[in-house]
Symmetry: C2
Subunit: 299 residues, 2 copies
């Protein structure tokens, strides 16, 4: 317990103006901030419009790797919010960029990560069709894997199964130099509006359990994505505010990168968790919902 930690301030009409005046770009987490599952959180649309009208840059930084940037832009638009692909930084994109920066030739990943990998020029194996594959224990029969796979990318995967676990485990244990990349390690997330579900932290832990290896994490709280964000938006991180619902990913990411931080209580963190002495990661500000900004800033 760090007794010297600085407690978060409740966002109020007294401090909201100085925060907004000092910030040029707002970085938003999505699950639990913008939406829960397929439902927009109340007032999000008007809040984002207000911020754009005031000339603020908007960026969406999500650890959920089940969609590519194109698929995220489509989801935003289907919910009535106009967002461009280049305003979205997903952990699926981060995984593809990590491979590109490290010049790796092939990979075996899971899920919607594949579209980002393809866009970055990679040949991906795996994906949804492996969800129905079965791995059977048979005498005299070898479970074969591609020995040229140079990276295993693990993200949120509702189609997790023993086939994929054995495939990834064999690549990591037996292919020389094979990378083990995790999009993120969120324990749970609001995959639906009514409840939380196991997150990528569950699948990543499973792979750690069988390989006894630790992954390279490219999503929040790692600041790997920030380099790409800074290339796109010429804004100093001290003039950015990271808005999220998780202390150990969003708020830590913001702090690691030197941004201001705002916790919203509309997702996985409630006020008692925030105020618990074991919560050593504290945001600069907190509020119940991003639409509070609308009321606090006034007409």
């Amino acid at each position: 317990m760090n007794t010297a930690k600085r407690a978060a301030q409740l966002l109020s009409s007294h401090n909201v103006t100085s925060l907004f005046d000092s910030v040029e770009a707002f970085l938003f987490d999505c699950d639990g901030v913008i939406w829960k599952g397929d439902k927009l959180i109340d007032g999000v649309s008007q809040t984002l419009e207000m911020l754009r009208s005031k000339g603020k840059k908007l960026v969406f930084v999500t650890n959920n790797s089940t969609k590519s940037r194109r698929q995220y832009a489509k989801k935003f638009n289907s919910l009535g919010i106009s967002v461009r692909e280049d305003e979205i930084f997903s952990s699926s994109f981060a995984a593809a960029m990590y491979l590109k920066v490290n010049n790796f030739p092939r990979e075996k990943g899971g899920e919607g990560i594949l579209e980002e990998l393809q866009l970055a020029g990679y040949t991906g194996l795996g994906g949804p069709e492996d969800g129905e594959k079965r791995a059977e224990w048979k005498s005299n029969s070898l479970f074969e894997h591609d020995k040229s796979v140079g990276a295993v990318v693990v993200g949120l995967d509702p189609h997790i199964n023993y086939y994929k676990l054995q495939y990834g485990t064999l690549c990591i244990r037996e292919n020389p130099g094979c990378l083990f990349i995790a999009t993120n390690r969120d324990a749970v997330g609001h995959m639906t509006d009514l409840q939380e579900w196991p997150g990528a932290g569950c699948m990543v832990a499973a792979m750690c359990g069988s390989t006894e290896r630790e992954p390279i994490v490219v999503g929040k709280p790692s600041t790997f994505m920030m380099d790409f964000l800074l290339q796109k938006f010429q804004v100093s991180t001290s003039k950015m505010c990271m808005v999220g619902d998780r202390l150990d990913t969003d708020i830590l990411f913001g702090k690691n990168a030197g941004c201001k931080t705002l916790l919203v209580l509309s997702g996985v963190t409630n006020q008692s968790t925030l105020e618990d002495p074991s919560s050593t990661i504290q945001p600069d500000y907190y509020t119940s919902n991003i639409s509070d900004c609308l009321h606090l800033l006034g007409p």
Copy 2:
């Protein structure tokens, strides 16, 4: 690195007699010692016969939870080895005994653990039929779980899926006082003769990843099973020898319980791993295969 560790002695004609004369009961791990998958390891049958003919007690202590004691006895007999149910101490049995000792009313486990739970008088949920269940993210729809479940038992499960992970996660996170029990945490095991596969450590880690909780481990290296073994066999642990292929489960279990320890190189540990300075757990003796005892002890 513990430089003061005592290096293992190769079993030889010089030390084998004193080991055998001082031991009344041999405790054997199964996977990688007795068999690999469904194939007996060479010479096992004759070795066990020789030990019985010399009046040694034989006990089989396995972390593999996919079978009940009855199913294990059947497997031994189908491979031509006569073993009684009460000579078998499996982690499935240990999980059931843990619940019994702690007087818990119901549980949600996985797999062949269910038979042991039923024998111990428990109502189990889950099992192979849940392997085909799917968990879908749907708006306005709640994934329901039984709020009376008092324990989640996680073991080796080749039918791992998102449905089971969400079910177990909800019980552990939301049911007051719900226990999280792991049969064992073996990273990998010789589920087939030709290669290793993810072990219970993989499924247990997945559940740790989503719940951010640590389990109670009832299998090796925990000595929980030893109490039941001592009730059955009136032999002091100093007159027992634990024979296994894993340093971090079998050999550590033997050392924790005060037994002599013999590592066999017929499973997951090879000589270079044994001799690596990072291997701080060292057996008293090691040999390539349990049938070496036959040759070393002579006719």
